[in-house]
């Protein structure tokens, strides 16, 4: 009897308990709101939709890493700086005729290594990652300044590797007018699928939840919490590097200030996407929804003719409301 009751937990209730319930409801609500209130029916158009998706790709990739870290109760404020590091290495090598493979490896793995340094400092010193990465983000950007001499990288040369990481889907655009999607979309979706799988279908994923939700209990059951967290920092660095590679592939430019504040956008997206700041709960799919919600709101602000610098305020309000809503909906469940 009892067993039967547990099994037959009603579907709506199960849905509300899931971390993506809040963001999904928000996404639908925002879509309906903007469809109604954006003038001239310009919201549900191919141009607008592809714009929303494109604007979400770079932040989206970074947000996946940030979400994993937040689930195991850590922060990475250096993610924006690592995007710039990745873009500089990848751009610098490809521009100077270096091997594309080497460029991609350097663009991904050096940020991954710096992510490992973040994790190492966090674990060895016991200083909260908020503080550790607040320091390292400044160090990484300063190192970039010194190494690059403060010069902006820019090229007008097209290389095949750029098309792979962030090329325009010309065939699609020709078939459907204004469908300006790019290969970055596949990278984003690929990473979402990969890390959602890792998070919910593997033991490592299970341990991430355990390390963030109840580290004491996790340790007691033999989980190496430190190693899990170290992995989280490395993944966050690798993904930031990938975002840098994708950024340079489309815009062929990198500056010291590239992706400044990206880490905060990612944290905001993760929170809007249902990840708890206290760790132990969250979802990669939710993170994707969070990024899309923020991207939609930005587009909505512009399409509704509001001054575009109001966007920042809209995001602020959204973070607060979404956090409140996500907590409320889970308490209800």
């Amino acid at each position: 009897m009892t067993k039967a009751t547990a099994k037959s937990k009603p579907a709506p209730r199960r849905f509300l308990e899931s971390p993506i319930a809040g963001p999904l409801i928000t996404l639908v609500a925002v879509t309906i709101f903007l469809t109604i209130f954006v003038p001239n029916n310009t919201f549900l158009t191919m141009r607008t939709m592809s714009g929303i998706v494109n604007a979400a790709t770079l932040t989206g990739i970074v947000t996946i890493g940030i979400t994993l870290l937040m689930i195991c109760d850590e922060f990475d404020l250096s993610a924006g700086a690592l995007v710039a590091v990745g873009a500089f290495l990848y751009g610098g090598i490809t521009m100077n005729g270096g091997s594309p493979l080497l460029a991609v490896l350097a663009g991904l793995l050096v940020p991954g290594l710096l992510g490992a340094l973040n994790g190492f400092l966090r674990i060895r010193t016991g200083i909260p990652s908020f503080i550790v990465t607040l320091g390292t983000q400044a160090i990484y950007r300063a190192a970039l300044y010194v190494l690059s001499g403060g010069i902006m990288l820019q090229t007008v040369t097209e290389l095949p590797v750029y098309k792979v990481f962030n090329g325009r889907l010309v065939g699609l655009a020709n078939a459907i007018p204004d469908a300006n999607f790019r290969t970055s979309l596949f990278w984003l979706l690929g990473m979402v699928v990969l890390f959602q799988f890792i998070l919910v279908r593997t033991r490592f994923g299970n341990h991430i939840f355990a390390a963030g939700g109840n580290p004491g209990a996790a340790k007691a059951t033999g989980v190496n919490v430190n190693r899990i967290k170290l992995m989280g920092f490395i993944i966050s660095g690798l993904l930031a590097g990938l975002a840098g590679v994708m950024l340079f592939s489309q815009y062929k430019t990198a500056r010291i200030a590239t992706a400044t504040g990206e880490e905060l956008n990612a944290i905001a997206a993760a929170v809007v996407g249902g990840t708890l700041l206290t760790g132990g709960s969250g979802s990669v799919v939710g993170a994707l929804l969070g990024v899309l919600i923020i991207s939609m709101l930005r587009t909505g602000v512009v399409l509704m003719g509001l001054p575009s610098d109001n966007f920042v305020a809209v995001v602020g309000v959204t973070i607060v409301l979404a956090a409140v809503f996500n907590y409320w909906i889970r308490r209800k469940a």
Binding site: G149, M231, I234, Q250, Y251, E262, S308
Partner: protein
Amino acid sequence: MSKKLSTLLALVLIATMVLTACGATEPPAEEPAAPAVEETTAPAVEEPAAPAEDAAAKPLKLYAVQHALCAWDSFWCTVEDGIKNAAEDMGVDVTILGPEKFDLEKTAQLIEQAVAAKPDGLAVTVTDADLFRAPIQKAIDAGIPVVAYNAGNGPIIDNIPYLTYLGQDEYQGGYQGGMRLAADGGTKGVCINQQVGHAGLDKRCNGFVAALGEKNIPADVLAISDDPAASQTVISDYYTANPDVDIFLTLGPNGANPFYAFLDAAGLAAGTYKHGTFDNSPEIAAAIKDGTTMFGIDQQPFLQGYGSIQSLVMVGRYGIKPALPVTATGPGFITTDNVDFAVDGNREVNIYTVQHALCAWDAFWCVVEKGIETAAKEQGVNYTLLGPEKWDLEKMAQLIEQAVAAKPDGMAVTVSSVDLFRSGIQKALDAGIPVTAYNAGAGPVLDNLGYMTYLGQDEYQGGYQGGMRLAADGGTKGVCINQVVGHTGLDARCKGFVDAMTEKGIPAEVLAISDDPASSQTVISDYFTANPDVDIFLTLGPNGANPFYAFYTQVGLTPEKAKHGTFDTSPEIISHIKDGVTMFAIDQQPFLQGYGAVTTLMLKIRYGISPAMPVTATGPGFVDLSNVDTVSALSGKYR
């Protein structure tokens, strides 16, 4: 799983470390910070000690202190090139000092070090006015002329009494850019700002919006961010919401880059929009060439270096001070015409200067011609000077035609009659000959003729700055004594004076006198009887100053009771500056009009640099106790 995954990641990481350590990853421009912080340029040939009276050969030791160096930031190579070329042209020693990395404390120390060397002039990037105020003030107190370049806001806003700031006028950049974009009309404009709240960028947008407003075209500011993907979408969304937008201004590569991505994605047809941007980059240069972008706005760093040395040499040798608190080196416009310009500092330059009067029959012009001669000699420029043998504007028009027919590399003209000279000057412009106006003209905008700039006195600024000096310590009432009311130039002087007084809360009015000195003296005296509280007097030249001095002696005034300033110099005015009756004389600096005309053409022909403003002010230059001796010693030749 976790163990396997972490092992795998660790392996890959180690592999990369090894790979990257092998040296294949080459971070751009990686150079060990050069410890050398001194770069000295000496004149190519050490000239023999010049006769003491030849001011143009006076040796000068100058210092330039800047917050960055060519050794570690390539932008500064162009600035330093400008400094070195100017030093070589003018035959002066310049020592460039800068920190071996970005370090403002160190830069402040280097300013101290430069001051301690007791140079004849100092150029400084005022990157941090608060930090640099004390060392710069030390230089000024020691009587060292100081100019700011590249970074600064001018002596007034920085609150440091240096001579001028040479750099880009951001508002003018946006304004002139807007005027170009809207020249053939338009429906709606947008200024795409990547950092709303940044004072310089906001000024650019303000100028753009004002220019479009003048053309009755509505314009918005669109805020974008450091994320190019999000920025591209914001621009695209803005365009969706405002499909009638056809004028776009971006504020640098960070805005132009997502803008080009937007254009590419949206597939906007060429000719349906106009785009201009600040700055240059490989991408912008390519877009200018293929017609996507109308222009890039350049701050002209070469001119910042060249101009600051030239300003210091003008002060050190001739007592000629910069006319304005801000000397605009930019906006300079990069268009299809000059995007591929090949700089050649040794290019042979042959120019014509055509003027409506000559030294041979009007002594004023000896000083202008001396300026032309000096600049041409220093810069290795060949010039032919033409002028009528008497006042004859028809003849002057013919001389312009004659000069154009000779196909020179450049031409300087006194535009004393725009209607008579229009066709000749237009012929030169059509033939691709750069033209500049000097001494007479109103600038390309008011003259409605496409020459580069007009070098002459800014009359309003003369009155305004004069008024500000006279009212600096307060006062009760001011009067502008005008000998020809209705003369545009003189009225502009009085307007500037009255505006300055009003700003200081002092009532002021204009008193009309005449060419008759006796009656003028009486008018001034009567006015004083009726207004005994007047204590600030401005006269507009010797014709006003002479009757004023007669009145001054008659009434028995003293410098404590009456402050007096005047336009122009004369032996009488010079002697009264020395005895303290007259606080200053405002000089249009004719030497600089000749010198500047040659330099402007030379910079255009060799370096592709265009003057930033339609009017390049050579005056007001102030002659006061600080430089009256230099001025009187050089009177008739350089002053």
